[in-house]
């Protein structure tokens, strides 16, 4: 049951994030929606690495050998978070510059090339 809920949340976040991007009229809002899409990947990876009745993969208080969840997916998610932060920063920088150029944040009104 919890598992289903986890995978369903992943699918929901992916879908709603894409919905947000498709309907977005504001570039800042769009960047926020992209982070929702990304949150779905965090959840998927950590959900896969989870194990009932297991502790964190840190053997400071527990001796090595106590049941622990998967450390590999956690390392992957850490990388994922860095990717998310860097891409968000880059996108926001683009958005800022674009706002200075055109005075608008509306994704619908700015076209890359004039007709």
């Amino acid at each position: 049951m919890t598992g289903m809920l986890c995978w369903a949340t992943v699918a929901w976040l992916l879908g709603i994030g894409l919905y947000g991007i498709v309907t977005s009229r504001n570039y800042v809002h769009l960047v926020g929606c992209l982070s929702v899409v990304q949150a779905s990947t965090y959840l998927l990876l950590l959900g896969i690495g989870y194990r009932w009745q297991a502790g964190p993969p840190i053997f400071y208080d527990h001796p090595p050998g106590t049941p622990a969840v998967d450390p590999v997916v956690q390392a992957l998610v850490l990388t994922d978070i860095v990717i998310g932060a860097t891409v968000t920063a880059l996108l926001l920088a683009l958005v800022l510059r674009l706002h200075k150029r055109t005075g608008s944040l509306d994704a619908g009104s700015i076209r890359p090339l004039s007709r």
Partner: protein, 253 residues
């Protein structure tokens, strides 16, 4: 497409994807009980082979340290990109005044806010440093600590205002820290190659488990990440906050 047509296309496509998604969810391995051979192997080997207690750091800096190398340089890439995008067009002006929102009253910050900022900023930076140091034993590491250090400095901005903050953050130093940290990571990986061992082989003594200085080469790599992330996020904050300053007389975009 009109927004309406676009939404219809999106909904139609989602309707097609939905049955497949349900099928996949039904066939996913059982949550919390399926085998995890890779992670278990790391948990089994980690403390015995590298004398560290934090397995996530072990994966990040040793077993899959090559991924982290790429990750560090990805950060470097993004920061350089942001610098080009923002600094490239406006130039750098460490002494400029902040801009202000029209119609918004100019509230002076109270002495208490300033004091809180000045007291807590060093504390948070210190805490970030602590987090970096304890990567091998408890949760934390170069990345988390670096972000905390860079964010801690933001308290000066909130307490003392833009100008004091900007005078504290020197881009030359931040750039250098970032480049140095990332290069340190790569150089530490190259060092074993001089001895004829594979890239990133852990050649330093491993120390004792639960000891701050356990993990051998991982300590150097962790320090490199700490420098790179603190510098990188520092540059990001500087470049973004410079966007809130006023344009100097005669200088336009």
């Amino acid at each position: 497409m009109t927004p309406r047509a676009r939404l219809l296309v999106f909904i139609g496509a989602c309707a097609c994807v939905l049955p497949a998604a349900v099928d996949v969810v039904m066939h996913m391995p059982a949550f919390g009980v399926h085998p995890l051979p890779y992670g278990d192997a790391v948990n089994r080997l980690g403390t015995a082979e590298r004398h560290v207690t934090n397995m996530v750091s072990l994966v990040n800096f040793d077993v899959r340290g090559f991924d982290t190398l790429g990750e560090e340089f990805m950060l470097l890439c993004a920061v350089t990109g942001v610098t080009i995008l923002l600094r490239g067009a406006r130039g750098e002006q460490p002494t400029a005044e902040p801009g202000y929102a029209p119609g918004r009253p100019d509230v002076r910050r109270s002495a208490a806010v300033t004091a809180i900022g000045r007291v807590f900023a060093p504390l948070i930076v210190l805490f970030g440093f602590y987090v970096v140091l304890h990567a091998m034993t408890t949760p934390g590491g170069g990345f988390q600590g670096g972000v905390i250090m860079a964010s801690g400095c933001l308290l000066i901005w909130m307490g003392d205002g833009y100008r004091s903050w900007r005078q504290m953050m020197r881009t030359e130093i931040l750039d250098a820290a970032e480049g140095f940290g990332a290069s340190l990571y790569a150089a530490a990986g190259l060092a074993p190659m001089v001895l004829g061992l594979p890239f990133l082989t852990n050649i330093l003594p491993f120390g004792q488990p639960k000891d701050l200085l356990s993990g051998g080469l991982m300590l150097v790599l962790n320090a490199g990440v700490g420098f790179a992330v603190a510098g990188g996020f520092g540059v990001l904050f500087v470049e973004f906050l410079e966007e809130t300053r006023a344009v100097p007389l005669g200088g336009g975009e």
